[in-house]
């Protein structure tokens, strides 16, 4: 997989390029908006990672221009401004996700994987059921069962499970859960999200032999069949 990173801080860009290459991603770096625009037009990438504050041409203008030209490559916006309206503006400009600097590398990785997966699923029909091992979710009937046994979840637990199932096999962070399940964009000081996850885990894993919902230390959670 090949990414384009438009980032003027060369130390940060270098660190990210090395970090991502460890996971098999090849990263091209552009150091300003104009260079980024040229590279994005001239090559096919799997993902654009665009910093907002750039010399010559700002990141959002670059993205808007590329989208206006009909290019559909997924875009992840990196920004030092953590304000909600910047987030909204970024997504409106055609970004697929938004991450605030400074971020944990695990957070970045989790978001990249979610984007890659979403990109792969773009052409498939909307799912009506989700399955991971013997855990099944029926999105129409809004019912959940494991090993044929029906489980009773509260509405929020259902949304939490749905999000985890849609991202099965990938790490999702607490911040991603808060954003996607609760629509809240901040870091709570306490472990509110963990409590919800552990309640969900109690319902789906407690009485079964193989646990499906795992904690990834320092990163977040992952729902997957194998240990």
């Amino acid at each position: 997989m090949k990414f384009l990173m438009i980032e003027d801080d060369s130390a940060a860009a270098d660190f990210l390029r090395k970090g991502l290459s460890g996971f098999g991603y090849d990263v091209d770096v552009a150091h300003d908006g104009e260079q980024g625009l040229t590279k994005a037009r001239g090559n096919l990438y799997d993902l654009w990672m665009i910093d907002v504050m750039l010399p010559k041409l700002d990141g959002l203008s670059v993205l808007r221009t590329l989208r206006d030209e009909g290019r559909q490559t997924p875009a992840l916006i990196l920004s030092a401004c953590g304000q909600v309206d910047d987030r909204v503006e970024g997504l409106r400009a055609g970004g697929d996700d938004y991450i605030v600097k400074p971020y944990a590398f695990a957070e970045l990785q989790a978001r990249i994987e979610a984007l890659m997966r979403r990109a792969r699923n773009v052409e498939t029909l909307p799912e009506t059921t989700l399955e991971v091992a013997d855990l099944k979710v029926d999105l129409i009937k809004r019912s959940v069962s494991r090993d044929g046994q029906e489980l009773f979840l509260k509405p929020r637990e259902f949304r939490l499970l749905e999000y985890l199932m849609r991202n099965a096999g990938q790490v999702v962070t607490r911040t991603m859960l808060l954003e996607n399940v609760w629509d809240l964009y901040f870091d709570p000081q306490t472990n509110v999200v963990d409590v919800h996850v552990s309640r969900l885990r109690f319902k789906i894993d407690k009485y079964f032999d193989t646990p499906l919902l795992h904690t990834v230390r320092g990163a977040g959670y992952v729902l997957r069949a194998d240990g």
Partner: protein, 455 residues
């Protein structure tokens, strides 16, 4: 020494003012004196001239009644009555011969003129002379000396000069006295400011004496110094706190990493790295909170306010925190009225309320209760987060919203001391107010009021 002091004093404002006023005064009084002198001279001259004209009438009458001998006896009587020192009489016959010369003023050669003439005398002074003919017989010149007038004017001038000198001296003395007094007080201010500039000693104060402008200035300056001192202390305190809050985890990090390196066991190293990550995240949170606070307080935060369904937001937060509260052995109850709308930034408000709920969960002991209420009161929406925990001591209630204030000074309980500062900043950014009081439940009650939105 004295002159040096004078030169030094001359630069001061009151001395410049005094000198200016004295020169203006002198010039003004000279003008007045000149005018008076001129008027006085004219009046005196007029008086003399009237006397001369009277004499002419008397002489003409006397000659008509008694002939030339009547004229002589008249001159004798006049000199006897008025004294001869300022008088002069000369009588000539038709041929121009002098018939009589009387009086102590020596008249020069004269010709007959219709008007009164003023003549300078070789002996000094001047004399006014009127000449006239007595019908058929003789010509008479009558002179009246101006010596007395001159003396009067000289006396006036002396009195003027003497009083002028006296006034100038008095003015100078008062001016210099004022200057020294003024200089002393201004100098005290100068010394104080210099002391603060050079030594950075903000604890010095001006003595306040009396109740003039200087006392008011000193009092205001002291008040300003007090405010600055408090601000500087605040900034120092924040700096110290940041250092402390970053140093503590750094110390732990260092110790942890050193131990792991020494141990060398991959399992230990992994566990250590995970703890390191957590510590770094904690420090991260502190720095982010400080940045957000700085932005919010400096007004650098762009706020695109929209209509927020506060009822839904609070219900969502109640639902988010419910399980967490339950796990901590707390009962979290929400009493949120329906359809509460405010105009603001949803995420900032959510952050503010969640910080309050975080705090309640952190500080209220197990078995306690947390109550979240929201109602509309007139044009305001009132949100209260209260509990039956230990509460906040009355003396802390003002300070608690400042950065790094913690009720527990030993900082044993986790927390950055920034949460409530953020709450206040975010509430105020949304045009709201926050206060703290005692809850009917027994613990703390945080009351937030936001302007209600009405379409």
């Amino acid at each position: 020494m004295f002159f040096a002091r004078m030169a030094e004093l001359r630069a001061t404002t009151p001395v410049r003012l005094t000198l200016g006023f004295l020169s203006l005064f002198t010039l003004g009084s000279l003008l007045v004196f000149g005018y008076l002198n001129h008027q006085l001279s004219a009046a005196l001259r007029e008086q003399v001239d009237a006397m001369l004209r009277d004499q002419r009438s008397v002489f003409v009458l006397q000659q008509q009644e008694h002939g030339i001998s009547g004229v002589y006896s008249l001159i004798r009587n006049e000199l006897k009555d008025k004294g001869d020192d300022e008088r002069a009489y000369r009588v000539l016959d038709r041929g121009g011969r002098v018939l009589l010369e009387a009086g102590s003023v020596a008249l020069p050669e004269l010709t007959l003129q219709p008007r009164i003439q003023e003549l300078q005398l070789s002996a000094g002074g001047s004399v006014r002379v009127l000449g006239f003919s007595l019908p058929g017989e003789a010509t008479v010149f009558v002179g009246i000396g101006m010596q007395q007038t001159a003396r009067l004017k000289a006396g006036l001038w002396r009195a003027f000069v003497e009083s002028e000198v006296l006034i100038i001296l008095l003015g100078l003395v008062v001016g210099f006295w004022l200057a020294r007094r003024f200089r002393g007080q201004v100098e005290a201010f100068n010394q104080l400011t210099l002391k603060i500039v050079n030594a950075g000693d903000l604890s010095s104060r001006m003595p306040v004496k009396g109740n003039d402008e200087f006392a008011a200035l000193a009092a205001n300056m002291n008040a300003m110094l007090g405010r600055i001192e408090k601000l500087v202390q605040g900034v120092r305190q924040v700096g110290d706190n940041i250092a402390h809050d970053i140093r503590t985890p750094l110390t732990r990090l260092r110790a942890d990493v050193e131990l792991a390196l020494h141990d060398g066991n991959p399992e230990t190293c992994r566990a250590t790295l995970e703890r390191v990550l957590e510590e770094v995240e904690g420090m991260h949170t502190i720095v982010n909170s400080l940045l957000a606070l700085g932005q919010a307080e400096a007004g650098g935060m762009r706020l695109k306010a929209k209509v927020v369904d506060l009822s839904a937001l609070l219900a969502e937060l109640g639902e988010l925190y419910g399980p967490s509260a339950e796990d901590n052995g707390l009962e979290l109850e929400s009493r949120v009225a329906a359809d509460l709308l405010v105009h603001g930034d949803k995420q900032l408000l959510a952050q503010a309320f969640s910080n309050l709920l975080d705090n309640a969960i952190k500080y209220v002991p197990a078995g306690g209760k947390v109550l979240l209420t929201a109602v509309r009161r007139g044009k305001q929406v009132e949100i209260v987060v209260e509990d039956n925990g230990p509460g906040i001591p009355a003396e802390m209630r003002e300070k608690i919203f400042e950065r790094f204030t913690r009720i527990d000074p030993s900082r044993t309980l986790a927390g950055s001391g920034l949460g409530l500062a953020l709450v206040k900043a975010f509430v105020e950014l949304n045009q709201g107010r926050i206060g703290i009081g005692e809850s009917a439940l027994g613990g703390a009650a945080f009351k937030i009021t936001l302007p209600a939105f009405s379409a």
